[in-house]
């Protein structure tokens, strides 16, 4: 059993003409086909975007221009496929308008929508995003790097965790945030496979 490592970087696809000119498909073309197939099948990014855009009732404003604390609970939903083995979760946040403000802080957990139970209960995933001040207001939002999403304050970067019975199930990232205006939650479904010797002489 050999572990297969699949890169998310797109690979060059072979051209149909390479195949059509041949009577039989050669090993070289087949290798391209396999790499392209691996890329398609093995790494599925669920582009979940959380738009923190406020509609101001009774006015023409599309968004509330004032800084928002975003202290309320938010839910970002996604459905895993039947082949999901691990889930990759990362947060990206933009700070509030005011220069010199605190870096955004996020706390999150994952729950199953079907029964409300938590995956990896008790784990508070993130707080204290790494941020930097940007005084170009109002031309540009302040923004930060990735959140810590493991033990409180202990790590930076997204978190990868194992799935089991959550395959093909609607899950929710339940999160709260302070000192941010826009938060994006990105989830990637990771499929790790093994294979056997596949080709006979």
């Amino acid at each position: 059993m050999t572990a297969v490592v699949v890169t998310p970087i797109p690979v060059s696809a072979p051209a149909v003409e390479q195949v059509a000119a041949l009577v039989l498909v050669t090993g070289g073309v087949m290798a391209h086909i396999i790499r392209g197939t691996q890329h398609l099948a093995a790494f599925r990014v669920l582009r979940v975007t959380q738009h923190q855009l406020d509609y101001d009732e009774g006015s023409d404003l599309l968004v509330d221009q004032s800084p928002q604390g975003l202290s309320s609970t938010n839910w970002s939903y996604f459905r895993t496929t039947s082949r999901a083995r691990r889930l990759w979760v990362g947060f990206w946040a933009q700070g509030t308008y005011a220069s010199g403000g605190d870096a955004p802080t996020i706390e999150a957990r994952i729950i199953r929508v079907s029964d409300g139970t938590e995956i990896d209960p008790g784990v508070i995933w993130s707080r204290g995003l790494v941020g930097h001040a940007d005084d170009t207001f109002p031309l540009m939002f302040l923004h930060t790097g990735w959140a810590s999403v493991d033990a409180p304050g202990a790590q930076t970067g997204p978190r990868l965790f194992d799935l089991d019975e959550e395959q093909d199930e609607l899950l929710a990232v339940e999160w709260t945030c302070t000192d941010a205006r826009l938060v994006r939650v990105t989830l990637a479904e990771v499929f790790e496979a093994t294979t056997t010797a596949a080709f006979a002489p």
């Binding site: 498909v25 087949m30 290798a31 738009h51 221009q65 990206w92 499929f191």
Partner: protein, 332 residues
């Protein structure tokens, strides 16, 4: 080949393929299963993910007019189900939210149970290609004896459950239909070409990166306008594949003067003529940033802000120049 995917198939290994060797049963089966799975799933999942946490939509009355509009891709002719959920509440006795698909002419109603923390619905709405690869979803709200309140809307495109039951998925064709893929025999060019086409089809299937709608004025049905003083009105954030083409589509109308909708990072401009009718207008970008660097550390693209400029002076307009209802960002 599998009809469904309750267990994961193995991935084939390219390094195991050598010239002059025949392809064994296990390998060809792995390739076919993986390709069929990819064609069935790419682009599916959650495409609408929107909430109004600080100011949820509220409407009192039997049924509002169209309040929001979303543009969702019809990935292939087999991906025709959009499953809708909502977090709702009602001020007094009852409220619901209703969704409509313009081309498929279907509708579903999700009734509120009065718990704004609970995701309700999970109802399937039929969708169909309007001719441009997209379906258009609208929403209305009802609130009898008190306001119906909508906090969040979630829509997910459902994957094809049994690829082999589908004759074709776009330009791709599930492997295993018709003649079997025999083991320990040379793979002929026709089947090899099908595999290559399937890869190309998978790469082309539309994936939604952002799908957002503001809210129309319920009583008059007016589209919200972009205020002249509105600075950098929208911050959209979307993943982007390296060097992949993406398209940002704006549902907007022209107002007092010619206007440019300016997207920062990457810098693109969409001009909307004065008094132009409400319509979808698109920006397409295929370029990476000049220095090759991407905006965020995960290799994704961020639309940091979108703002409006006077097309003649390239400055902040003195009057309201654009009405904007919805934005969708899609890519391969």
């Amino acid at each position: 080949m599998a009809l469904d995917y309750s267990t994961p198939p193995d991935l084939p290994v390219a390094s195991d393929v050598l010239p002059t060797q025949y392809i064994a049963e296990g390998a060809i089966d792995d390739i076919a299963n993986c390709q069929n799975y990819a064609l069935a799933h790419i682009g599916t999942g959650v495409v609408i993910q929107q909430e109004w946490p600080e100011d949820p939509i509220q409407y009192t009355g039997a049924l509002s007019g169209v309040l929001t509009k979303w543009r969702v891709p019809v990935i292939t002719g087999q991906h025709v189900v959009l499953r809708l959920h909502a977090r709702l509440d009602h001020a007094v006795t009852a409220g619901d939210v209703r969704f409509y698909s313009a081309t498929a002419a279907d509708s579903v109603t999700i009734a509120s149970i009065g718990d704004p923390t609970s995701l309700e619905g999970g109802l399937d709405l039929d969708i169909d290609d309007s001719g441009d690869g997209f379906e258009y979803i609208t929403m209305k709200v009802s609130g009898t004896d008190g306001a119906g309140i909508v906090y969040q809307v979630v829509g997910e495109i459902i994957a094809v459950a049994s690829p082999l039951a589908a004759a074709a998925l776009g330009d791709g064709e599930p492997l295993g239909r018709g003649a079997s893929l025999a083991p320990d025999r040379a793979l002929d060019a026709g089947r090899g070409a099908r595999m290559v086409r399937n890869i190309a089809q998978g790469n082309d299937q539309t994936r939604t990166m952002a799908c957002w709608s503001t809210v129309r004025t319920a009583d008059s049905g007016n589209i919200p306008t972009w205020p002249s003083y509105g600075l950098r009105a929208i911050g959209l954030s979307a993943n982007r594949g390296v060097a992949a083409e993406y398209t940002a589509a704006f549902l907007c109308s022209g107002k007092a003067a010619d206007a440019d909708i300016y997207v920062d990072d990457p810098q693109r401009t969409l001009t909307v003529a004065a008094a132009a009718a409400e319509d979808w207008r698109t920006l397409t970008d295929t370029q990476a940033r000049p220095d090759g660097a991407l905006t965020s550390p995960d290799g994704s693209m961020v639309l940091r802000h979108i703002d409006v400029r006077d097309a003649a002076t390239n400055s902040v307009p003195a009057t309201t120049v654009v009405g904007l209802l919805a934005v969708t960002v899609t890519g391969p």
